[in-house]
């Protein structure tokens, strides 16, 4: 598994160090350690997670435990769809790497699947400028998935700007919730 994944990680790390942040892929590695422990989700979308050290002798669940659409399996990182951003930032934080890896694997396994990356912005300032800021957030996730091997034909980055807020309040918490890119499959 790591044989396949290491070059990707290298690419991610290199691009995070790029000198022109606006044009480079922006999956950011802030911990250093997570890169070596990241687990690629197997094709098919179900991910097994080790929970060692808790003294519980667990047994592996059968792989066909979740019978529905793997993208909807609450145990799978594929069910995670939102990438949140810091204020005035367009960098995908490292905590989203497992989620994006899972979506990249799924998209590579299903070449007819398409994702729409929907960027959003908080409500402060110009609507058109916020539309462009939302686009930057959508683009950041698109580039991260491209680095993970997803073909351009399977992705479209678009923006809703401040027009479709998940949280309609005018508070810092609401703004943080709305600075976001959602990964939405075209057939959903």
């Amino acid at each position: 598994m790591n044989k396949i994944f290491l070059p990707v990680l290298l690419a991610l790390t290199l691009s995070a160090c790029g000198t022109t942040p606006d044009t480079q892929a922006t999956v950011e590695d802030r911990t250093g350690a997570t890169a070596t422990t990241a687990t690629a989700a197997p094709a098919g979308g179900a991910e097994s997670t080790g929970l060692d050290g808790a003294g519980v002798a667990g047994s592996a669940l059968p792989s066909d435990q979740y019978a529905g659409d793997p993208r909807k399996d609450p145990a799978s990182p594929l069910s995670r769809r939102s990438v949140h951003f810091d204020f005035d930032s367009y960098v995908v934080k490292s905590e989203y790497r497992p989620m994006l890896e899972a979506h990249a694997s799924y998209l590579q396994s299903k070449r007819d699947a398409r994702v729409i990356l929907q960027g959003n912005a908080d409500e402060r300032g110009s609507r058109e400028y916020n539309l462009a800021l939302g686009q930057k957030r959508a683009e950041a996730v698109r580039r991260a998935l491209a680095v993970l091997g997803v073909s351009d034909a399977q992705m479209e980055a678009i923006s809703f700007g401040e027009e479709k807020p998940r949280n309609e309040a005018s508070s810092e918490d609401a703004y943080a919730e709305n600075r976001r890119t959602d990964v939405v499959y075209a057939d959903e």
Partner: protein, 424 residues
């Protein structure tokens, strides 16, 4: 109908009392008042049975007051001449009037009305203008705006803009409506209804079409729509986001912002959607293009310098030059019809306000005193700026004179109004 709340300095209070019905449109706020104003008396025209409400003198008087360049003389208890021969100039001079507007309305067969009006110079005791119109009841307000335009032009030397229209987006619950209204906010007509957001309406230079961004296709797409028959087409629906339409002065092409080549960049496209060419390059964010009146220059917002600032670039392409330098957030440029001023939104101390920027000198003036202003656009005569702001937790539209001293509010209870654009 747009509903009006009025707040005015004391000296105007008498004007606003009884005759202002709840449907009067404007809230007018005059700040300071140092500027010399023309004092005009709007005498109610001799009425015809069955004529529409409010009176022509009232509608035209509201127009003039809203401009900030006129003071309306209190005509209560004064004689009401209907023709020049009946005017006693001395009593009007005694009231401080510089000019007098009088007239008649007569009923014609078929529900029509004949309107005659006279504009008189009280000091020189001469007639400055006289017009007559044969109109339907549906043309009542338009006639009043034409009268106001004539009075404005004769007394200031500049064309009026009272017969122009505005477009804006109204949000009511989850419903969005793109509306076109008279410049005083009255007579609104809905031209687009959608359950998805609509932003950035822009009138074509001839006023016959409106371009806008609709999210009805689950992403932003630029449409153009005829205001005559409602027919519409997609101008830009490329992969990614399509937004920020701006008509060239010839009405044959538009600047739009596309993300088909990844970053938000400015492109030129013909009004039928053909002939796409890219104008700006690089991985930065470029948006909110607007053509200069001569069509040679495009002003736009970019983050290429590290913060949101306004730049200009030749419409035929070239290296952009930075226009705004102070502050960390200057967006949404609009250019005056004479090309001398920019209006834009500037953030300072967390407040977003309308700024007027003289291009030749670089001098700027903050025009508003609110905190969440957006979307400035100039009146067709360049004498006022229309913008959106937040008041009492909801979106309202306002105008402000170029000296910042006269502000008005268009308000309608229970709805959010935003994204205004002033058209021809």
């Amino acid at each position: 109908m747009l509903r009006a709340v009025l707040f005015f300095p004391l000296f105007c209070l008498a004007l606003l009392s009884a005759p202002f019905s709840a449907r009067a449109a404007m809230e007018i706020q005059v700040i300071g008042g140092a500027a010399s104003k023309i004092s005009v008396a709007m005498v109610p025209f001799q009425a015809a049975p069955g004529q529409p409400e409010p009176t022509l003198a009232r509608i035209a008087g509201d127009d003039l007051a809203r401009s900030g360049q006129f003071t309306l003389v209190d005509v209560g208890g004064m004689p009401q001449p209907a023709a020049p021969a009946q005017v006693n100039y001395g009593v009007w001079r005694g009231k401080g009037a510089d000019a007098l507007v009088i007239g008649t309305v007569a009923a014609l067969p078929g529900g029509r009305f004949e309107v005659r009006f006279y504009l008189l110079d009280v000091i020189k005791q001469t007639q400055l203008a006289a017009f007559s119109y044969s109109i339907t009841a549906a043309q009542w307000r338009a006639t009043a705006h034409q009268i106001a335009d004539i009075v404005y032009e004769k007394l200031t030397g500049m064309p009026g803009a009272f017969s122009s229209r505005i477009a804006y987006v109204q949000k009511q619950g989850k419903r969005f409506e793109l509306r076109v209204a008279d410049a005083d906010g009255q007579n609104p007509r809905t031209v687009v209804r959608s359950n998805e957001p609509v932003i950035s309406p822009r009138f074509s230079p001839d006023g016959a079409r409106v371009a806008y961004v609709s999210f009805e296709d689950k992403k932003p797409v630029v449409y153009a729509q005829s205001l005559r028959d409602g027919g519409r087409s997609k101008i830009a629906a490329f992969k990614g986001s399509n937004s920020a339409p701006a008509w060239a002065p010839d009405g044959r092409r538009l600047a739009v912002v596309l993300t088909r080549d990844q970053a938000s960049q400015i492109y030129l496209i013909n009004a039928d959607g053909s002939g796409l060419t890219r104008l700006t390059r690089g991985g930065n964010l470029d948006t909110e293009p607007v053509f200069s009146p001569d069509g040679q220059t495009i002003y736009f917002t970019s983050d290429r310098g590290g913060s949101a600032q306004i730049y200009r670039v030749a419409a035929k392409g070239g290296e952009p030059q930075r226009v705004t330098f102070s502050g960390g957030y200057n967006v949404s440029p609009a250019i005056s019809p004479d090309g001398r001023h920019l209006a834009y939104i500037s953030r300072e101390d967390g407040r977003f306000r309308v700024v007027l920027h003289e291009l030749a000198s670089g001098q700027t003036r903050v025009l508003t005193d609110t905190a969440r202003d957006e979307s400035p656009s100039f009146a067709p005569n360049g004498q006022a700026v229309l913008y959106a702001t937040i008041q009492g937790g909801r979106g309202v539209l306002g105008t402000v004179s170029l000296d910042g001293k006269t502000r008005t509010r268009l308000s309608e209870s229970g709805v959010d109004a935003r994204e205004p654009a002033w058209g021809p």
